[in-house]
Symmetry: C2
Subunit: 190 residues, 2 copies
Amino acid sequence: MSAKEKLLYAASRLFEEKGYSGTTTAAVAAMAGVAEVTLFRHFKNKETLFRETVKQIQGSVILEISDREGDPDLRDGLCHFAKTLCRYFMEQNRTIRMMLFESIRNPELKDLLKEGPMRSVTRLEFFFSYHISQGRLPSVDPRIYADSLISLVFGYTIGLVSLKEKQDINSELEYLEDIITTAFLPELKH
Amino acid sequence: MSAKEKLLYAASRLFEEKGYSGTTTAAVAAMAGVAEVTLFRHFKNKETLFRETVKQIQGSVILEISDREGDPDLRDGLCHFAKTLCRYFMEQNRTIRMMLFESIRNPELKDLLKEGPMRSVTRLEFFFSYHISQGRLPSVDPRIYADSLISLVFGYTIGLVSLKEKQDINSELEYLEDIITTAFLPELKH
DNA sequence: TATGTAAGTAAGTAGTTACTAACATATCGG
DNA sequence: CCGATATGTTAGTAACTACTTACTTACATA
């Protein structure tokens, strides 16, 4: 692993935990096991390091949720989608929370934040428009369904990790399934 | 206004915008218009100032959402609740995002975060159990309904303010109403 | 053998940061 | 009016912070 890679890896862990101003260049270099001056040879300044770090964090996001797009069972597809998204938000929750905060002062981070969730909105829209075309849902703008499911899962997961002491992932996923079949599109239940 | 009050007010604005490590005691004192040493006479250290600030921020939260608890119209009550909550999350979004981030390193902040949203969960539970008792909803645990509505509104609002460039509050509230009547409990629609 | 490249070491700069000490002044209740 | 309490002023400290400079080492390639 090159020095630059080591620095980016260390930086991602530190920025994620301590945010921009809580992270020092000395700490990043130390965690990467390289000299601090090497950091400044690869990155013009701390700000540049932060930006490049954020880019590669978000670049590593792979959402493997598309494999149910043509699922014949709407309810199953929905639950699968929700659970996958929930797991993703859980894994990335610290990065997300950090970026949610840093984007207050650095609005261009919004674009990077969008890349993750927004891509899933498009995916979900396809999913819903397919099921609408099959007559399984009333023919309204599929974006409404997509937005609401993503909002629901996002809110549920971030609330979960931010408020609860300890989480048992499996029981949380089960509860999420309950929520979806009971309150979200309950007409699906039977 | 006493020096202490001025300090707490300035601190709340700065911590909310820049977080803990982005805020300096000098800046707080300057914004409050008092000498920095006065800050340390009222608060043992920066950490204490932060904690007391956070306490009073959350202490000022008044949720006036209870006035529809016995509403005969489930759909109207729900929309009213959701909109009120949405407005609250919008107003408080920077504080919420800051605390969501700071609670990564300072887990005791979770308790303070809970006070706001959690109180509304209880309120909502009453609302739903009333309508369940009236036979307007299937008799499941009302907490499921409460959790999902709060998750939905929370996720929607935080997503909104964090991703969108400019928000027109009224059209966002309308869209939220669409979401609720279309995707959340759609059986209410008629 | 010569040269370029990536990394290290060591030292330092200029500014910031949380926090303290000592002393002076203002304000206010009794 | 007195005395206590609150606040200001000034100065300082020790550590930290982002970033720079000058020079060195190791290795690969021409």
